[in-house]
């Protein structure tokens, strides 16, 4: 039985008539890498700000580590490391000094060794004595991750952690998230608009739109649900198209090129289609079913819109 770590119930945040978060329910278990997905303006950052008590909810409850956030704010925040949107620091201080100050306020015994350790993890050890005002956005992002890890929190909340990073930096952060969950048994709450990032790292996820959860579940279950994008590669595209159009699957055709037909279909329909084409002696070089989170994300958020 998974141990609940974050329990959000009927959360609302209203700014006048605008409902940034509108009855959101979430359940994150210990050890999850939990993907928090949604288009811009869906209410992701507002939700994270409420989880970190930066913003007061209009109504609803937030429990983290089994404790109510309103009455146990400090006990909860002591066990959370977070990046919220942009990683901003005191630009007139060095990276090390920033971490020292943040560490002291975190209530943990943060030593020089632990600061060096987290700076090493994010690849900033050589710039520890540089003032943050000389840092690029990507370096600030890495420093943001360092401060989130500094006091060895049980829950790590990352809001768009790879924004501004180069491809290698993105891979490094992705690997770090996986390592934190697998080797250090941390729970990671990962908000991102980069869908492959969530697809590659998260174990569970929720997609929200207009302040509401649209779907929640294990990433693999969600990937396997619904229709697949199937690419059928053949040297005889026109004849294959003619055959398919004569079947009930005609409406599933999405597009075609010189060498391939792309269709959206149920997993169970694939075998029948392949057999039908093979019977007609259509040479098939490949049939590739892909369940992309991106497709799913777009279909869900468009449906709601």
């Amino acid at each position: 039985m998974p141990i609940p770590l974050i329990e959000i119930h009927d959360l609302h945040k209203h700014y006048g008539h605008f409902h940034a978060v509108d009855g959101l329910d979430l359940h994150v278990s210990q050890g999850d890498v939990y993907g928090f997905l949604g288009p811009n303006g869906a209410g992701k950052s507002t939700t994270i700000r409420m989880m970190l008590s930066l913003v007061r909810p209009t109504s609803g409850t937030i429990k983290i580590f089994g404790l109510d956030l309103t009455s146990h704010r400090n006990d909860i925040l002591r066990r959370i490391g977070a990046i919220v949107e942009r990683p901003d620091f005191y630009n007139y201080l060095t990276a090390r000094r920033n971490l020292e100050l943040v560490g002291r306020l975190s209530g943990a015994d943060v030593s020089t060794k632990s600061i060096d350790h987290v700076l090493g993890i994010v690849g900033l050890a050589s710039r520890a004595s540089s003032k943050v005002k000389t840092f690029s956005h990507g370096m600030k992002q890495r420093l943001g991750i360092a401060q989130a890890l500094l006091h060895s929190p049980d829950l790590i909340v990352l809001d768009e952690p790879t924004t501004g990073l180069d491809p290698q930096g993105m891979v490094d952060i992705r690997d770090l998230i996986l390592e934190l969950a697998a080797d250090h048994k941390k729970t990671v709450f990962l908000s991102s608009h980069i869908l492959p990032e969530v697809e590659l790292t998260a174990t569970r996820m929720v997609i929200i739109n207009r302040g509401k959860a649209v779907v929640e579940g294990a990433v693999q279950d969600l990937l396997n649900a619904g229709r697949l994008k199937v690419t059928i590669e053949t040297s005889e595209v026109p004849r294959a198209l003619e055959l398919i159009r004569a079947t009930p699957l005609a409406s599933h055709i999405q597009s075609s090129t010189d060498g391939a037909i792309i269709m959206m279909m149920e997993r169970e329909e694939i075998a029948g289609l392949v057999a039908h084409l093979a019977d007609a002696r259509i040479p098939l070089s490949a049939v590739s079913p892909v369940r992309s989170l991106e497709e799913y994300f777009i279909s869900l958020t468009q449906d709601v819109s």
Binding site: S53, L54, V55, N74, L77, L105, Q147
Partner: protein, 279 residues
């Protein structure tokens, strides 16, 4: 936890260049004024006592370190509030501008503690500025011009003996610290309302100017407001150079200033408690 938060805030305040503007300004200005007073102070004092000299004889070292300090105290009092607001107006709004509220308020630290730590850091800066001003003007004045009596010319002429001056200066600088803390508290309050440090600095100075102007206009309707303005009580230190000291007036002025400090601090706490951090 407030001790840690206070030390962190102090560390931040004294890592910024703007914090030292006030010290540099006073460090340059006071020696210049003391030197000028040493060179031409006799003329200045002669002009101030011109009418009195027809009736009285003045003997002794009247242009001494105490007199210079008294004059500097009276004149710089107008400018020091601006130096105070440079730090006080920025201490909360600066976090909003830099986006570091998110860094600060996601720590296991209540907002009330954070506000108190910042307020204490502001008070520390303000009081250090006043102490610096006192040490510079008294120390440099006495070192260059020696000691002597102070002639205080207000509604009546008071000549205060040398051995009767120290405690008055100590109390006067204490009063000045309270007055500057009031200015800092007002800037601190405005700093909690906005996301740019320029706003609190300008607004606080505008309030001081408007209140000073209203206080100077002799219209009966303002008589009800005037006693409530903190600007009207900031120069309450002057009563400490009356003989005998008018303790009632000193106490009333001190009370009004303290009420402003408490009011601004409480209002800031309430605002910060309710504030959504959106920057």
């Amino acid at each position: 936890m407030i001790g840690t938060a206070y030390r962190v805030e102090l560390s931040k305040v004294f890592s910024k260049w703007r914090t030292f503007i006030g010290f540099i300004a006073l460090g340059v200005l006071i020696p210049v004024v003391v030197a000028a007073m040493g060179i031409e102070g006799g003329q200045y004092l002669g002009f101030a006592t011109q009418a009195l000299k027809q009736t009285f004889d003045f003997t002794g070292n009247l242009m001494n370190g105490y007199t210079v300090s008294y004059i500097i105290f009276g004149s710089l009092y107008v400018h020091v509030p601006f130096l105070v607001t440079l730090v006080a107006g920025e201490i909360l709004a600066g976090e909003a501008t830099a986006g570091t509220y998110r860094l600060l308020l996601t720590r296991p630290l209540s907002r009330a503690t954070m506000v108190s730590a910042k307020f204490l850091a502001t008070l520390t800066y303000t009081n250090l500025l006043v102490i610096f001003m006192a040490l510079m003007s008294l120390g440099l004045g006495i070192a260059l011009l020696g000691t002597g009596e102070v002639v205080v010319i207000r509604s009546q002429i008071t000549i205060i003996a040398e051995n009767d001056l120290w405690w008055r200066f100590v109390l006067a600088y204490g009063f000045a610290a309270m007055a500057m803390t009031t200015v800092a508290s007002v800037a601190f309050l405005f700093s909690s309302l906005v996301e740019n440090a320029i706003g609190p600095i300008m607004t606080t100075m505008a309030i001081i100017i408007v209140m000073t102007i209203i206080s100077a206009i002799d219209i009966p309707i303002f008589d009800y407001l005037r006693p409530l303005f903190f600007t009207n009580h900031m120069n309450g230190w002057k009563f400490l150079f009356d003989d005998p000291v008018n303790w009632t007036k000193v106490s009333i002025s001190a009370g009004v200033l303290l009420a402003h400090i408490a009011g601004c601090y409480t209002a800031t706490q309430i605002i910060m408690r309710r504030k959504d951090i959106l920057t």
